[in-house]
């Protein structure tokens, strides 16, 4: 039984079909890549899965439940977390507060305790603080806990965004070009980290990446998207030698 099963997903903007007849499957604890040239519709697929966009048709079954068209905050509660291609941190907040927000959906004190500052409030805050620090430690950000998020270097902002997503306790993590803008060294470290968190947190990971060689290295299976449609899927070796894929990428380079 697969964790995520997408059938016939369709999304159009005005006349343009950004995603069409999209079929996709992700098993528990699998690491799958979604690649494709610029404007292929990769980010749109992520936006559909996480509820940012409502699909025009098709189904997205996650954990045996159709989540297509649900509100993003409900989809998050079902166990889907993501990062963004253009980092979307809570810029003016401290690093630790960025992560703390992820625990709000499970907050264990109520508004009355908040206003009256009852012991339940202090207990709850202490737990949240400890948990947030755990995640900062994993991503080596604990020394920066009180820094304003937008003051972090780019690579650290990317890491913080992943930390924040993981803190929502997802069963599936989707990463939109997590290595964009990183140097080769940072990219390698990030990929190792992604491998590690997948094992340690027993996650399924869906990864968008522009860099083909990078995706080939870490992903177990790969889907290739072009003009909103899957043109190939299979093992990395199969994709590497697929004619259509090579054409799609060459076409991009020539155009």
């Amino acid at each position: 039984m697969s964790l995520l099963e997408i059938t016939n997903l369709h999304k159009s903007f005005g006349g343009l079909s950004a995603v069409l007849k999209f079929n996709f499957r992700l098993d528990a604890q699998e690491l799958v890549g979604l690649i494709g040239p610029n404007g292929a519709g990769k980010t749109t697929v992520f936006n559909l899965i996480t509820g940012v966009y409502k699909p025009n048709g098709g189904s997205i079954v996650f954990n045996n439940e159709d989540i297509a068209g649900m509100a993003p905050y409900n989809i998050c509660k079902k166990g889907v977390a993501r990062t963004f291609q253009n980092i979307r941190l809570f810029k003016d907040l401290s690093v630790i507060d960025n992560v703390k927000i992820a625990f709000h959906k499970n907050v264990n004190y109520n508004l009355l305790s908040t206003i009256l500052r009852t012991p339940a409030f202090f207990r709850g805050e202490k737990i949240i603080e400890e948990k947030a620090l755990e995640y900062l430690k994993i991503f080596k950000l604990e020394d920066k806990r009180d820094e304003i998020a937008s003051n972090l270097p780019y690579g650290e902002q990317r890491r913080l965004e992943i930390a924040r997503a993981l803190a929502t306790k997802p069963t599936m993590l989707i990463l939109d070009e997590p290595a964009a803008g990183m140097n080769p060294q940072e990219t390698r470290e990030l990929m190792q980290l992604i491998e590690w968190i997948r094992k340690d947190f027993q996650l399924s990971i869906l990864l968008i990446e522009h860099d083909m060689s990078l995706v080939m290295g870490v992903c177990e299976r790969i889907y290739v998207l072009d003009y909103g449609q899957i043109i190939a899927h299979g093992l990395p070796e199969e994709i590497r030698n697929n004619k259509k894929v090579i054409e799609a990428y060459l076409g991009e380079e020539v155009g």
Partner: protein, 316 residues
């Protein structure tokens, strides 16, 4: 343990400071050191603080530009006067009913309008504020355009002081909590916030309702001090006044809102005698502040215990 003891000592110290401040003013009032016009000034100051701090919750912390705050003030004022003057209930009932009525109005207006963003929300709240005013103008039971007169003065210094402190305390405690972080995350990035599992609409409504309730409280205190309330007192000009305080203090800074409210109250008071040039000077000061400090006096920073501790240890 040592830390805990220190926190308690600071807390006790703060309570003493607040009590002393209260007693000084109370004493000065009883022995007649504070004349009528200063009394009006102090009352306006407290009311303005309540208004600015509560609007800042909506505009500053939640990032939802509301231009209808005076409307909620009106609801609180009218509802409470009906309780106290028309129905003969005690002041506390007036206060509770005033806050509740304003909160309900906030909910009814917030649910449909808070889907809108930015300018659209601003215009919608402005419109609703005006609707409240026009509705009041057309209800004979509350005096129509002439308003309600002959209200008993029940707003005394203890009530004012308590109301101001409760307002600040509730909002500061709310903001410095998981709920507060959820509220602020809406301002920071609504989409990211939703994807963290936060139902952003419900937090916007929460902030709007809490803000409206305290605006209602300000209305109650206003009505029971100035003997008379008229719909036109609570028009959009009043709403703009409150927005000015919030922007001047710095969006998202409670300390800023308090300081700006005090500043504007004194400015209005000082310029009373120069009615002709008053608006010009008032506007000039605002323009100058906005040119040299567009983020407002405090930005989004707060004066906290830590700030004072730093200043204190710096001096030693």
């Amino acid at each position: 343990m040592h830390e805990k003891k220190k926190t308690w000592l600071t807390f006790i110290f703060e309570v003493i400071v607040l009590a002393v401040l209260f007693t000084i003013v109370q004493y000065a009032m009883t022995v007649g050191l504070i004349n009528q016009s200063y009394q009006i000034n102090i009352t306006s100051m407290c009311i303005n603080i309540i208004l600015a701090v509560s609007l800042n919750l909506i505009n500053g912390f939640t990032g939802q530009l509301s231009l209808g705050h005076a409307g909620f003030m009106a609801v609180g004022a009218y509802a409470s006067v009906i309780m106290t003057n028309n129905l003969g209930m005690p002041f506390i009932v007036g206060i509770l009913v005033g806050c509740l009525a304003a909160g309900i109005a906030g909910f009814l207006i917030g649910v449909p309008t808070l889907r809108l963003k930015g300018d659209y929300l601003a215009i919608a709240t402005l419109g609703f504020g005006e609707i409240i005013r026009v509705v009041l103008q057309n209800i004979d039971y509350v005096g129509g355009p002439a308003g309600m007169v002959g209200i008993t003065r029940l707003t005394s210094w203890p009530w004012l002081y308590a109301a101001t402190i409760v307002t600040i305390l509730v909002i500061v405690n709310l903001i410095n909590s998981s709920y507060g972080r959820a509220i602020i995350s809406v301002r920071e990035d609504e989409i990211a916030s939703e994807l963290m599992g936060i139902n952003t609409t419900s937090y916007k409504v929460l902030a709007f309702v809490v803000g409206a309730m305290f605006a209602g409280l300000a209305g109650v205190l206003y009505a029971h001090f100035f003997y008379i309330i008229k719909p036109e007192t609570f028009g959009f000009l009043k709403s703009f006044d409150i927005v000015v305080m919030v922007v001047l203090g710095g969006l998202g800074s409670t300390t800023g809102a308090v300081i700006a409210a005090i500043f504007i109250t004194f400015l209005t008071f000082a310029l009373q005698k120069y009615a002709a040039v008053r608006m010009i000077i008032y506007s000039l000061i605002l323009i100058i502040v906005m040119i040299y400090r567009p983020q407002g006096l405090m930005g989004s920073k707060e004066l906290t215990r830590k700030t004072f501790a730093r200043i204190w240890s710096g001096k030693k």
